[in-house]
Point group: C2
Chain length 227, copies 2
Amino acid sequence: MVALMNATPPSPRTRVRRVPRRARYDHDSLHRVLDAGYVAHVAFAIENQPYCIPMAYVRLADHVYLHGATSSRLVEALAAGLPACLTTTLLDGLVLARSAFHHSMNYRSAVCLGRLRLLDDPDEKARALDALVERMVAGRAAEVRAPSAQELKATAVLALALEEASVKIRTGDPIDDEADLERPCWAGVLPLAAGFAAPAPSADLRPGLAPPSPARYLDRANRPGAA
Amino acid sequence: MVALMNATPPSPRTRVRRVPRRARYDHDSLHRVLDAGYVAHVAFAIENQPYCIPMAYVRLADHVYLHGATSSRLVEALAAGLPACLTTTLLDGLVLARSAFHHSMNYRSAVCLGRLRLLDDPDEKARALDALVERMVAGRAAEVRAPSAQELKATAVLALALEEASVKIRTGDPIDDEADLERPCWAGVLPLAAGFAAPAPSADLRPGLAPPSPARYLDRANRPGAA
Protein backbone atom coordinates (compact mmCIF):
# COMPACT_ATOMS: atom_id res chain seq x y z
CA MET A 1 0.00 0.00 0.00
CA VAL A 2 1.09 3.50 -0.73
CA ALA A 3 1.36 5.34 2.56
CA LEU A 4 -0.60 8.46 1.77
CA MET A 5 -1.61 9.29 5.32
CA ASN A 6 0.78 11.79 6.76
CA ALA A 7 0.85 15.31 8.10
CA THR A 8 -0.52 16.81 4.90
CA PRO A 9 -3.86 16.24 3.20
CA PRO A 10 -3.66 13.22 0.92
CA SER A 11 -5.68 14.74 -1.90
CA PRO A 12 -7.56 17.93 -2.72
CA ARG A 13 -10.87 16.14 -2.30
CA THR A 14 -10.12 14.92 1.21
CA ARG A 15 -8.63 18.18 2.47
CA VAL A 16 -10.82 19.53 5.27
CA ARG A 17 -11.63 23.17 4.58
CA ARG A 18 -14.12 23.99 7.33
CA VAL A 19 -12.31 24.51 10.65
CA PRO A 20 -9.09 22.95 9.34
CA ARG A 21 -7.55 22.92 12.84
CA ARG A 22 -9.88 19.99 13.56
CA ALA A 23 -8.48 17.92 10.71
CA ARG A 24 -6.01 15.03 10.96
CA TYR A 25 -4.48 13.05 8.12
CA ASP A 26 -2.09 10.66 9.89
CA HIS A 27 -2.51 6.91 10.09
CA ASP A 28 -2.71 6.79 13.88
CA SER A 29 -5.60 9.24 14.07
CA LEU A 30 -7.42 7.44 11.29
CA HIS A 31 -6.93 4.03 12.88
CA ARG A 32 -8.01 5.24 16.31
CA VAL A 33 -11.29 6.63 14.97
CA LEU A 34 -12.02 3.58 12.82
CA ASP A 35 -11.17 1.24 15.68
CA ALA A 36 -13.58 2.95 18.05
CA GLY A 37 -16.63 2.42 15.83
CA TYR A 38 -18.77 -0.60 15.00
CA VAL A 39 -20.89 0.73 12.16
CA ALA A 40 -19.76 2.70 9.12
CA HIS A 41 -21.95 4.49 6.62
CA VAL A 42 -21.05 3.45 3.11
CA ALA A 43 -22.08 5.70 0.24
CA PHE A 44 -22.23 4.74 -3.42
CA ALA A 45 -24.33 5.90 -6.34
CA ILE A 46 -26.50 3.92 -8.73
CA GLU A 47 -27.93 5.76 -11.72
CA ASN A 48 -26.93 9.08 -10.21
CA GLN A 49 -28.77 8.38 -6.94
CA PRO A 50 -26.46 8.15 -3.91
CA TYR A 51 -27.25 5.59 -1.23
CA CYS A 52 -25.84 5.66 2.27
CA ILE A 53 -26.09 2.33 4.08
CA PRO A 54 -24.95 1.39 7.59
CA MET A 55 -22.64 -1.63 7.68
CA ALA A 56 -20.62 -3.40 10.36
CA TYR A 57 -16.90 -3.18 9.70
CA VAL A 58 -13.50 -3.94 11.11
CA ARG A 59 -10.08 -2.51 10.37
CA LEU A 60 -7.07 -4.81 9.93
CA ALA A 61 -3.79 -3.08 9.15
CA ASP A 62 -4.51 -0.64 6.31
CA HIS A 63 -7.82 -2.08 5.13
CA VAL A 64 -11.39 -1.85 6.30
CA TYR A 65 -13.50 -4.98 5.83
CA LEU A 66 -17.25 -5.12 5.37
CA HIS A 67 -19.53 -8.08 4.81
CA GLY A 68 -22.94 -8.73 3.44
CA ALA A 69 -25.13 -11.33 1.82
CA THR A 70 -23.64 -12.37 -1.50
CA SER A 71 -27.04 -11.95 -3.11
CA SER A 72 -27.71 -8.41 -1.86
CA ARG A 73 -28.03 -5.34 -4.08
CA LEU A 74 -25.63 -3.59 -1.76
CA VAL A 75 -22.86 -6.13 -2.17
CA GLU A 76 -23.51 -6.31 -5.89
CA ALA A 77 -23.13 -2.53 -6.23
CA LEU A 78 -20.04 -2.33 -4.06
CA ALA A 79 -18.35 -5.38 -5.57
CA ALA A 80 -18.67 -3.76 -8.99
CA GLY A 81 -15.96 -1.38 -7.85
CA LEU A 82 -17.93 1.84 -8.02
CA PRO A 83 -16.36 4.84 -6.29
CA ALA A 84 -17.45 4.73 -2.65
CA CYS A 85 -17.09 6.66 0.55
CA LEU A 86 -16.96 4.99 3.95
CA THR A 87 -17.56 7.22 6.95
CA THR A 88 -17.52 6.48 10.65
CA THR A 89 -18.69 9.03 13.17
CA LEU A 90 -18.54 8.81 16.95
CA LEU A 91 -20.68 11.36 18.70
CA ASP A 92 -19.04 12.26 22.02
CA GLY A 93 -21.09 15.14 23.35
CA LEU A 94 -23.49 18.01 22.80
CA VAL A 95 -21.73 21.35 23.16
CA LEU A 96 -23.94 23.99 24.76
CA ALA A 97 -22.74 27.54 24.18
CA ARG A 98 -24.22 30.86 25.38
CA SER A 99 -25.31 31.70 21.85
CA ALA A 100 -27.39 29.57 19.50
CA PHE A 101 -24.76 30.05 16.83
CA HIS A 102 -21.89 28.50 18.80
CA HIS A 103 -23.75 25.33 19.78
CA SER A 104 -21.80 22.39 18.45
CA MET A 105 -21.03 18.73 18.95
CA ASN A 106 -17.94 16.89 20.04
CA TYR A 107 -17.25 14.08 17.63
CA ARG A 108 -14.64 12.01 15.86
CA SER A 109 -15.19 11.15 12.22
CA ALA A 110 -13.22 9.42 9.50
CA VAL A 111 -14.08 9.81 5.82
CA CYS A 112 -12.43 7.25 3.51
CA LEU A 113 -12.66 7.32 -0.28
CA GLY A 114 -11.98 4.44 -2.61
CA ARG A 115 -13.34 1.48 -4.49
CA LEU A 116 -14.18 -1.72 -2.68
CA ARG A 117 -12.72 -5.03 -3.67
CA LEU A 118 -14.58 -8.32 -3.31
CA LEU A 119 -12.38 -10.89 -1.57
CA ASP A 120 -11.72 -14.07 -3.52
CA ASP A 121 -8.99 -15.60 -1.43
CA PRO A 122 -10.63 -17.96 1.10
CA ASP A 123 -7.92 -17.32 3.71
CA GLU A 124 -8.22 -13.54 3.50
CA LYS A 125 -12.00 -13.90 3.65
CA ALA A 126 -11.84 -16.17 6.71
CA ARG A 127 -9.44 -13.78 8.46
CA ALA A 128 -11.76 -10.82 7.84
CA LEU A 129 -14.84 -12.70 9.06
CA ASP A 130 -12.97 -13.81 12.19
CA ALA A 131 -11.92 -10.21 12.77
CA LEU A 132 -15.53 -9.01 12.50
CA VAL A 133 -16.48 -11.39 15.31
CA GLU A 134 -13.35 -10.58 17.32
CA ARG A 135 -14.19 -6.89 16.96
CA MET A 136 -17.28 -7.52 19.09
CA VAL A 137 -15.64 -9.68 21.75
CA ALA A 138 -11.96 -10.60 21.86
CA GLY A 139 -11.50 -14.37 21.69
CA ARG A 140 -15.05 -14.95 20.49
CA ALA A 141 -14.13 -16.48 17.12
CA ALA A 142 -12.58 -19.50 18.85
CA GLU A 143 -15.65 -20.08 21.03
CA VAL A 144 -18.36 -20.09 18.41
CA ARG A 145 -19.05 -22.41 15.51
CA ALA A 146 -16.91 -21.40 12.56
CA PRO A 147 -18.65 -20.62 9.27
CA SER A 148 -19.66 -23.63 7.19
CA ALA A 149 -18.79 -23.84 3.49
CA GLN A 150 -22.37 -22.83 2.70
CA GLU A 151 -22.28 -19.87 5.05
CA LEU A 152 -18.98 -18.73 3.56
CA LYS A 153 -20.49 -18.94 0.12
CA ALA A 154 -23.49 -16.88 1.20
CA THR A 155 -21.28 -14.19 2.71
CA ALA A 156 -19.41 -11.65 0.62
CA VAL A 157 -16.49 -9.78 2.17
CA LEU A 158 -15.38 -6.46 0.75
CA ALA A 159 -12.15 -4.60 1.44
CA LEU A 160 -11.40 -0.89 1.24
CA ALA A 161 -7.75 0.13 1.18
CA LEU A 162 -7.12 3.16 3.40
CA GLU A 163 -5.38 5.24 0.78
CA GLU A 164 -7.36 8.47 0.74
CA ALA A 165 -8.95 9.60 3.96
CA SER A 166 -9.37 12.41 6.42
CA VAL A 167 -10.24 12.59 10.09
CA LYS A 168 -12.03 15.39 11.85
CA ILE A 169 -12.22 15.72 15.62
CA ARG A 170 -13.84 18.25 17.90
CA THR A 171 -13.24 18.08 21.62
CA GLY A 172 -13.66 20.35 24.61
CA ASP A 173 -15.67 23.34 25.71
CA PRO A 174 -17.93 25.61 23.72
CA ILE A 175 -16.11 28.57 22.19
CA ASP A 176 -18.23 31.61 22.95
CA ASP A 177 -17.91 35.19 21.86
CA GLU A 178 -16.28 37.25 24.61
CA ALA A 179 -19.39 39.43 24.85
CA ASP A 180 -21.57 36.41 25.64
CA LEU A 181 -19.54 35.07 28.56
CA GLU A 182 -21.48 37.05 31.16
CA ARG A 183 -24.78 35.67 29.97
CA PRO A 184 -26.43 33.87 32.91
CA CYS A 185 -26.94 30.52 31.27
CA TRP A 186 -25.08 27.28 31.82
CA ALA A 187 -22.49 26.34 29.20
CA GLY A 188 -20.50 23.17 28.76
CA VAL A 189 -20.75 19.70 27.33
CA LEU A 190 -23.38 17.00 27.74
CA PRO A 191 -21.26 13.87 27.15
CA LEU A 192 -22.97 10.95 25.47
CA ALA A 193 -22.83 7.80 27.57
CA ALA A 194 -20.06 5.47 26.45
CA GLY A 195 -19.56 1.74 26.79
CA PHE A 196 -22.13 -0.94 27.45
CA ALA A 197 -25.04 -1.74 29.71
CA ALA A 198 -25.27 -5.16 31.40
CA PRO A 199 -25.23 -8.17 29.03
CA ALA A 200 -28.71 -9.51 28.22
CA PRO A 201 -28.67 -13.32 27.96
CA SER A 202 -30.61 -14.95 25.15
CA ALA A 203 -33.95 -16.42 26.23
CA ASP A 204 -32.77 -19.84 25.02
CA LEU A 205 -29.39 -19.72 26.79
CA ARG A 206 -28.28 -22.94 28.48
CA PRO A 207 -27.99 -22.48 32.24
CA GLY A 208 -24.57 -22.01 33.81
CA LEU A 209 -22.90 -19.98 31.06
CA ALA A 210 -21.36 -16.65 32.05
CA PRO A 211 -21.27 -13.63 29.74
CA PRO A 212 -17.92 -12.49 28.38
CA SER A 213 -15.95 -10.39 30.85
CA PRO A 214 -16.14 -6.64 30.11
CA ALA A 215 -12.40 -6.58 29.47
CA ARG A 216 -13.03 -8.63 26.34
CA TYR A 217 -15.25 -6.02 24.72
CA LEU A 218 -14.40 -2.78 26.49
CA ASP A 219 -10.63 -2.93 26.08
CA ARG A 220 -10.08 -1.78 22.52
CA ALA A 221 -6.43 -2.80 22.63
CA ASN A 222 -7.46 -6.46 22.90
CA ARG A 223 -8.81 -6.69 19.44
CA PRO A 224 -7.06 -7.32 16.16
CA GLY A 225 -6.10 -4.30 14.19
CA ALA A 226 -6.05 -1.94 17.16
CA ALA A 227 -3.55 0.88 16.76
CA MET B 1 -46.29 16.91 0.96
CA VAL B 2 -47.43 13.71 -0.65
CA ALA B 3 -47.87 11.11 2.05
CA LEU B 4 -45.84 8.26 0.65
CA MET B 5 -45.06 6.59 3.95
CA ASN B 6 -47.51 3.86 4.62
CA ALA B 7 -47.64 0.14 5.02
CA THR B 8 -46.09 -0.51 1.61
CA PRO B 9 -42.68 0.43 0.25
CA PRO B 10 -42.75 3.95 -1.17
CA SER B 11 -40.62 3.15 -4.21
CA PRO B 12 -38.70 0.27 -5.72
CA ARG B 13 -35.42 1.90 -4.71
CA THR B 14 -36.32 2.19 -1.04
CA ARG B 15 -37.87 -1.26 -0.74
CA VAL B 16 -35.82 -3.31 1.73
CA ARG B 17 -34.96 -6.66 0.18
CA ARG B 18 -32.60 -8.16 2.75
CA VAL B 19 -34.54 -9.50 5.75
CA PRO B 20 -37.72 -7.65 4.72
CA ARG B 21 -39.45 -8.48 8.02
CA ARG B 22 -37.18 -5.84 9.59
CA ALA B 23 -38.44 -3.10 7.29
CA ARG B 24 -40.93 -0.34 8.14
CA TYR B 25 -42.33 2.29 5.82
CA ASP B 26 -44.83 4.18 8.01
CA HIS B 27 -44.42 7.74 9.20
CA ASP B 28 -44.41 6.90 12.88
CA SER B 29 -41.53 4.45 12.59
CA LEU B 30 -39.57 6.89 10.43
CA HIS B 31 -40.15 9.78 12.82
CA ARG B 32 -39.24 7.74 15.87
CA VAL B 33 -35.88 6.72 14.39
CA LEU B 34 -35.07 10.19 13.11
CA ASP B 35 -36.07 11.75 16.43
CA ALA B 36 -33.77 9.49 18.41
CA GLY B 37 -30.61 10.53 16.53
CA TYR B 38 -28.48 13.66 16.60
CA VAL B 39 -26.19 13.07 13.62
CA ALA B 40 -27.15 11.94 10.13
CA HIS B 41 -24.84 10.81 7.36
CA VAL B 42 -25.58 12.71 4.19
CA ALA B 43 -24.41 11.25 0.89
CA PHE B 44 -24.10 13.10 -2.39
CA ALA B 45 -21.85 12.69 -5.41
CA ILE B 46 -19.58 15.21 -7.10
CA GLU B 47 -18.01 14.19 -10.39
CA ASN B 48 -19.05 10.59 -9.82
CA GLN B 49 -17.36 10.43 -6.38
CA PRO B 50 -19.82 9.90 -3.52
CA TYR B 51 -19.17 11.70 -0.24
CA CYS B 52 -20.75 10.74 3.05
CA ILE B 53 -20.61 13.51 5.64
CA PRO B 54 -21.91 13.55 9.22
CA MET B 55 -24.25 16.46 9.96
CA ALA B 56 -26.40 17.53 12.89
CA TYR B 57 -30.09 17.50 12.04
CA VAL B 58 -33.55 17.90 13.40
CA ARG B 59 -36.92 16.73 12.16
CA LEU B 60 -39.90 19.09 12.18
CA ALA B 61 -43.15 17.64 10.84
CA ASP B 62 -42.27 15.98 7.52
CA HIS B 63 -38.93 17.65 6.90
CA VAL B 64 -35.41 17.11 8.14
CA TYR B 65 -33.31 20.24 8.58
CA LEU B 66 -29.53 20.47 8.35
CA HIS B 67 -27.27 23.47 8.66
CA GLY B 68 -23.78 24.43 7.65
CA ALA B 69 -21.54 27.34 6.85
CA THR B 70 -22.89 29.21 3.83
CA SER B 71 -19.41 29.19 2.33
CA SER B 72 -18.78 25.44 2.66
CA ARG B 73 -18.31 23.01 -0.22
CA LEU B 74 -20.82 20.73 1.47
CA VAL B 75 -23.59 23.32 1.56
CA GLU B 76 -22.76 24.43 -1.96
CA ALA B 77 -23.09 20.86 -3.24
CA LEU B 78 -26.30 20.12 -1.34
CA ALA B 79 -27.92 23.47 -2.12
CA ALA B 80 -27.44 22.76 -5.81
CA GLY B 81 -30.19 20.18 -5.44
CA LEU B 82 -28.18 17.09 -6.30
CA PRO B 83 -29.81 13.76 -5.48
CA ALA B 84 -28.90 12.96 -1.89
CA CYS B 85 -29.38 10.26 0.72
CA LEU B 86 -29.69 11.03 4.41
CA THR B 87 -29.22 8.11 6.78
CA THR B 88 -29.45 7.91 10.55
CA THR B 89 -28.39 4.80 12.40
CA LEU B 90 -28.72 4.06 16.09
CA LEU B 91 -26.66 1.11 17.25
CA ASP B 92 -28.43 -0.56 20.16
CA GLY B 93 -26.44 -3.70 20.80
CA LEU B 94 -24.00 -6.35 19.67
CA VAL B 95 -25.75 -9.65 19.10
CA LEU B 96 -23.60 -12.63 20.08
CA ALA B 97 -24.74 -15.91 18.57
CA ARG B 98 -23.31 -19.43 18.96
CA SER B 99 -22.04 -19.36 15.38
CA ALA B 100 -19.88 -16.71 13.76
CA PHE B 101 -22.39 -16.50 10.92
CA HIS B 102 -25.34 -15.46 13.08
CA HIS B 103 -23.55 -12.67 14.92
CA SER B 104 -25.46 -9.48 14.28
CA MET B 105 -26.27 -6.06 15.65
CA ASN B 106 -29.43 -4.54 17.03
CA TYR B 107 -30.02 -1.20 15.37
CA ARG B 108 -32.55 1.26 14.04
CA SER B 109 -31.82 3.01 10.78
CA ALA B 110 -33.68 5.39 8.49
CA VAL B 111 -32.63 5.92 4.88
CA CYS B 112 -34.19 8.99 3.21
CA LEU B 113 -33.78 9.88 -0.46
CA GLY B 114 -34.37 13.27 -2.01
CA ARG B 115 -32.93 16.59 -3.02
CA LEU B 116 -32.19 19.22 -0.43
CA ARG B 117 -33.64 22.69 -0.64
CA LEU B 118 -31.82 25.77 0.62
CA LEU B 119 -34.12 27.83 2.85
CA ASP B 120 -34.70 31.40 1.74
CA ASP B 121 -37.55 32.38 4.01
CA PRO B 122 -36.04 34.00 7.15
CA ASP B 123 -38.85 32.75 9.38
CA GLU B 124 -38.54 29.15 8.24
CA LYS B 125 -34.76 29.43 8.66
CA ALA B 126 -35.08 30.85 12.18
CA ARG B 127 -37.54 28.11 13.15
CA ALA B 128 -35.18 25.41 11.92
CA LEU B 129 -32.17 26.89 13.72
CA ASP B 130 -34.19 27.19 16.93
CA ALA B 131 -35.25 23.58 16.54
CA LEU B 132 -31.63 22.45 16.13
CA VAL B 133 -30.82 24.04 19.51
CA GLU B 134 -34.04 22.78 21.09
CA ARG B 135 -33.16 19.29 19.85
CA MET B 136 -30.18 19.35 22.22
CA VAL B 137 -31.95 20.78 25.27
CA ALA B 138 -35.64 21.67 25.44
CA GLY B 139 -36.11 25.37 26.20
CA ARG B 140 -32.52 26.20 25.34
CA ALA B 141 -33.28 28.53 22.41
CA ALA B 142 -34.93 31.03 24.78
CA GLU B 143 -31.97 31.03 27.19
CA VAL B 144 -29.14 31.68 24.78
CA ARG B 145 -28.33 34.66 22.60
CA ALA B 146 -30.33 34.42 19.38
CA PRO B 147 -28.43 34.48 16.08
CA SER B 148 -27.33 37.92 14.89
CA ALA B 149 -28.04 39.06 11.34
CA GLN B 150 -24.43 38.28 10.46
CA GLU B 151 -24.60 34.80 12.00
CA LEU B 152 -27.82 34.10 10.12
CA LYS B 153 -26.16 35.16 6.90
CA ALA B 154 -23.20 32.88 7.58
CA THR B 155 -25.46 29.90 8.25
CA ALA B 156 -27.21 27.99 5.51
CA VAL B 157 -30.18 25.80 6.38
CA LEU B 158 -31.20 22.94 4.13
CA ALA B 159 -34.44 20.98 4.17
CA LEU B 160 -35.15 17.45 3.01
CA ALA B 161 -38.80 16.51 2.53
CA LEU B 162 -39.52 13.02 3.87
CA GLU B 163 -41.12 11.67 0.74
CA GLU B 164 -39.12 8.54 -0.03
CA ALA B 165 -37.67 6.62 2.86
CA SER B 166 -37.36 3.29 4.58
CA VAL B 167 -36.66 2.18 8.11
CA LYS B 168 -34.95 -0.99 9.21
CA ILE B 169 -34.93 -2.25 12.76
CA ARG B 170 -33.42 -5.29 14.42
CA THR B 171 -34.17 -6.06 18.03
CA GLY B 172 -33.88 -9.01 20.37
CA ASP B 173 -31.90 -12.19 20.78
CA PRO B 174 -29.54 -13.91 18.38
CA ILE B 175 -31.27 -16.37 16.07
CA ASP B 176 -29.18 -19.50 16.13
CA ASP B 177 -29.43 -22.69 14.16
CA GLU B 178 -31.18 -25.37 16.21
CA ALA B 179 -28.07 -27.55 16.03
CA ASP B 180 -25.94 -24.85 17.69
CA LEU B 181 -28.10 -24.27 20.74
CA GLU B 182 -26.28 -26.87 22.84
CA ARG B 183 -22.92 -25.26 22.21
CA PRO B 184 -21.43 -24.27 25.57
CA CYS B 185 -20.88 -20.60 24.87
CA TRP B 186 -22.78 -17.59 26.12
CA ALA B 187 -25.24 -16.01 23.71
CA GLY B 188 -27.22 -12.83 23.98
CA VAL B 189 -26.94 -9.11 23.49
CA LEU B 190 -24.36 -6.61 24.69
CA PRO B 191 -26.47 -3.44 24.80
CA LEU B 192 -24.69 -0.19 24.00
CA ALA B 193 -24.96 2.33 26.81
CA ALA B 194 -27.70 4.88 26.19
CA GLY B 195 -28.24 8.40 27.43
CA PHE B 196 -25.72 10.82 28.87
CA ALA B 197 -22.91 11.01 31.39
CA ALA B 198 -22.77 13.89 33.91
CA PRO B 199 -22.72 17.40 32.37
CA ALA B 200 -19.20 18.89 32.09
CA PRO B 201 -19.25 22.64 32.79
CA SER B 202 -17.20 24.91 30.58
CA ALA B 203 -13.90 26.05 32.16
CA ASP B 204 -15.05 29.65 31.79
CA LEU B 205 -18.51 29.12 33.31
CA ARG B 206 -19.72 31.83 35.72
CA PRO B 207 -20.20 30.43 39.21
CA GLY B 208 -23.68 29.60 40.44
CA LEU B 209 -25.19 28.33 37.19
CA ALA B 210 -26.76 24.87 37.25
CA PRO B 211 -26.72 22.53 34.25
CA PRO B 212 -30.02 21.80 32.50
CA SER B 213 -32.08 19.17 34.26
CA PRO B 214 -31.83 15.73 32.62
CA ALA B 215 -35.54 15.87 31.81
CA ARG B 216 -34.78 18.64 29.33
CA TYR B 217 -32.49 16.50 27.21
CA LEU B 218 -33.45 12.93 28.05
CA ASP B 219 -37.17 13.24 27.54
CA ARG B 220 -37.57 13.02 23.79
CA ALA B 221 -41.21 14.03 23.97
CA ASN B 222 -40.20 17.50 25.17
CA ARG B 223 -38.71 18.57 21.95
CA PRO B 224 -40.31 19.97 18.84
CA GLY B 225 -41.11 17.50 16.14
CA ALA B 226 -41.31 14.49 18.43
CA ALA B 227 -43.72 11.89 17.14
